[in-house]
């Protein structure tokens, strides 16, 4: 059970940022709020508690954007975790080959590239609002020439797409050599 320390907001984000010190947690909350993330300071449940007794509850879907912002602002944090379910992100990648194309699946995301040219020909799956944006920015471009989704995305779908992209780039690099 979580106890809001600041107010009785009805916000349910489903994720926690854990910190080593109370000062870091307060700094993290402030920076995230300044960038319009909805967050709240909470006491983490005993099963997830590491470091100090204060954590920041976040919308876990926004993990990638929040992680990037905290790193950019040099706020030290320990871990970002979902409040329920599997604590670890899926890291299984599946590969399916078509005649001239290779499709890499990571979680709910699939990235398909042309095996001869190394060009991304399709991105499918997912559902968070950064996916159509990433789709447009990566489609018909070479794997070696696009910005990794982790750098432009904000959500867990983008993180899954980044995993598929990384594997696709690895496959392409090996095949090209």
């Amino acid at each position: 059970m979580l106890f809001g320390k600041k107010n009785k907001s009805s916000f349910e984000g489903g994720g926690l940022v854990l910190f080593q010190t109370v000062e870091d947690a307060i700094a993290g909350e402030k920076i995230l709020q300044s960038e319009n993330y909805e967050v709240k300071l909470v006491a983490p449940p005993p099963a997830l508690r590491k470091g100090c007794d204060l954590a920041v509850e976040i919308n876990i879907i926004e993990k990638i954007g929040i992680e990037r912002l905290l790193l950019q602002r040099k706020v030290v944090f320990m871990e970002i975790l979902p409040l329920k379910g599997a604590g670890d992100l899926l890291d299984i990648v599946k590969v399916k080959n078509f005649d001239n194309y290779c499709m890499v699946k990571a979680g709910n995301m699939k990235l398909t590239f042309d095996r001869k040219e190394g060009v991304i020909v399709n991105i499918s799956g997912g559902g968070c609002p950064d996916i159509p944006f990433l789709h447009i920015s990566m489609l018909d471009k070479k794997l070696t020439e696009v910005t990794p989704p982790k750098e432009n995305g904000h959500t867990l779908c983008a993180l899954m797409l980044d995993m598929a992209f990384t594997e696709a780039l690895d496959i392409w690099s090996k095949e090209a050599n």
Binding site: A86, I92, G107, N122, S124, P129, I136, C157
Partner: protein, 284 residues
């Protein structure tokens, strides 16, 4: 009236609302052209063409720009919370919107205040929000692929990125087991349209249809082929089909559209969309 709500990949956050039309190869919302790409735009395009084919009213849409930070998504949630009873849609189809569980709860509560509760459909991240908020049984139609089906079957996951390994490792042949588990865990809508090598339609816990022809494996790679299924289904329900028949005909039409344009893994969704009228003619 079919009301479609979702984000488009633009940094302009303001709400765009009105009647959607697909003219020639252009998607227009009250004279504003929206690029027909993967996502809500593909869904709307499919719904427009289906409505045109069935001589029913074009869909009404509520859109906002969002590239992932959630500002446009919050505008959409608030728009629905403030306007849904006045709009009183027959079908509400929610799509690419940042999952915010508290906001989704308010939307569903507001939908219950409509003169007649709309048929509630959720695809993509709206399905994640509905399931994560424990609202799945309140919805009439969900449209998961195999990974999303595993997510619905996982009692604790609030996003497919965090499903349990044994569920993710399930292949298409285990879709019936995942469907059963999703209903058991109360992670399913009344109707599930499960997309895969074989498509399944399940209603209240039981599989009522299986579709596997024409078999076009490349469709899995094409971004937007799930969006078109949702658009087809929503438009058919709005035209008077019962949800089960709409689901079956949407799945058949989508596969046929893929066959009509001889889809490969590199085919773009626009080509599938443009083949929908020909496919509808063949299926209905």
């Amino acid at each position: 009236m079919l009301l479609i709500c979702g984000t488009i990949p633009q940094d302009n956050f303001s709400i765009i609302t009105g009647k959607a039309e697909f003219q020639g190869d252009r998607l227009l919302v009250e004279n504003t052209e929206i690029s027909c790409t993967q996502g809500t735009a593909a869904l709307i395009s499919a719904a427009c063409l289906t409505a045109q084919f069935l001589n029913s009213s074009p869909p009404q849409v509520v859109l906002a720009g969002d590239t992932g930070k959630g500002t446009g998504s919050n505008l959409l949630y608030n728009y629905l919370i403030n306007n849904l009873p006045g709009l009183n849609p027959d079908v509400l189809l929610m799509h690419y919107i940042l999952p915010i569980m508290g906001q989704m709860k308010k939307v569903v509560a507001t939908a219950a205040k409509c003169g007649k509760k709309p048929v509630l459909m959720a695809d993509a991240s709206s399905m994640y929000a509905a399931k994560g908020a424990g609202l799945a049984p309140e919805f009439d139609v969900f449209t998961p692929d195999i990974c999303e089906l595993a997510f619905l079957a996982d009692p604790d996951a609030i996003h497919p990125a965090y499903i349990q390994y044994h569920l993710f490792s399930a292949d298409d042949s285990q879709a019936p087991d995942l469907i059963e588990a999703a209903y058991k865990q109360k992670g399913a809508a009344k109707i599930l349209i499960a997309k895969g090598a074989t498509d399944y339609v399940a209603e209240k816990g039981k599989i009522v249809a299986e579709i596997n022809e024409p078999d076009i494996p490349a469709m899995e790679a094409i971004g937007g082929t799930g969006d078109t299924i949702s658009g087809l289904t929503g438009a058919m329900i709005d035209a008077g089909f019962n949800p089960r028949n709409a689901a079956v005909n949407a799945l058949r039409t989508n596969r046929k559209a893929g066959a009509c344009c001889e889809a490969t893994p590199a085919t773009k969704i626009r080509l599938i969309v443009e083949a929908i009228p020909k496919a509808l003619k063949s299926i209905l």
